[in-house]
């Protein structure tokens, strides 16, 4: 092989590597891999209760979570912050077809990220999946009400990452 041909070969290798690197960067862009859909910022209202019992829990399923297949087995975690939390909120994924939904997660102010959906397969055969976010809001009478305590506003963050 002549030196010129070797040079051209090396230059081609650099080019291919660069294309792969840029492609991976684009593929790894956070914007398309995990998105929340449906109601952007849902509000859940607890309005009734049972005398001698508890306030009546309310379930909201107006939001979904869309994630894409990755090159490795992945998982989704969830965490939340809620300063001056007075009431209770939990979340579970329903209708999961790619991966395994974890048990319902109680969202507590300042909590560490915990598993939400695990074992998301990397094998070919699918591109995206969109299960539902099922939020359950609950309160005890002893927790008070929004007039006296204010509303609870949870900032809930979901992360798609390597398992």
């Amino acid at each position: 092989m002549t030196p010129q041909r070797r040079y051209r070969t090396l230059r081609l290798l650099f080019l291919i590597g660069g294309v792969i690197f840029v492609s991976m960067f684009l593929v790894s862009s956070a914007a398309a891999q995990l998105t929340l859909r449906g109601t952007a910022n849902p509000t859940i209202n607890i309005t009734t209760g049972t005398a001698g019992g508890s306030m009546t829990s309310v379930v909201n399923t107006s939001s979904t979570i869309r994630y894409t297949r990755q090159a490795a087995i992945a998982k989704i975690t969830v965490r939340a912050t809620c300063p001056s939390q007075s009431f209770h909120l939990a979340v579970v994924a329903t209708g999961v077809t790619r991966g395994v939904a974890a048990p319902q997660v109680n969202l507590i102010d300042g909590m560490l990220a915990v598993d939400f959906i695990t074992s998301i397969p990397s094998a070919a055969g699918w591109t995206t999946s969109t299960p539902t976010l099922s939020y359950t809001a609950s309160a005890a009478f002893s927790d008070g009400n929004s007039v006296e305590m204010g509303n609870d506003v949870y900032a809930v963050t979901y992360t798609l990452q390597v398992q």
Partner: protein, 177 residues
Amino acid sequence: MARAPIRFRKPTDLNKALVFPALLLIFACVPQGASAQVYGTDSHNVTVTVATVNIVQVSAGTASLTLSAAAVTAGVNLMGPVTNSATSLLWGFNSSLRKVTVKTNLAAPKFILKVLAVAPTQGTASPEVTLSTTAADFLINTGRSSGSCTIQYSGSALASAGTGTDTHTITFTVAAQ
């Protein structure tokens, strides 16, 4: 003898020098399987609101008292009392500083009817009251709680009142304390 240009000098060393960085670049583009690798993240706000709910409920819509000879003593003008503890009051208040009052709709009852909260699971029972059309404290210090208590009715009558039936509509009301 002049040295050839670098690119044509010792081509074997140059290849080695350039192949390694190229392979390193390609290798770096392949996912390593490292645990910290994040593919994507998203977040939203979820707001939970809780309405003001203050509710009371009785376990049964009716109760009755019957004054008969068993509750009567010869020579004593006041007949009775007979008591009924068959029903309960249940409540749920998510407001602070709440109490329960009680009254009757009967403005001129023939006989004497009293009521008392017994063994409340939350709060404090007020002293036994003789029912009138003016609301009186039945249970206090029950803010932000859910509980129950037995409703104890006591009925008595003076001999001079004779016989008959008093029908009361008893109203329990949540009020600010």
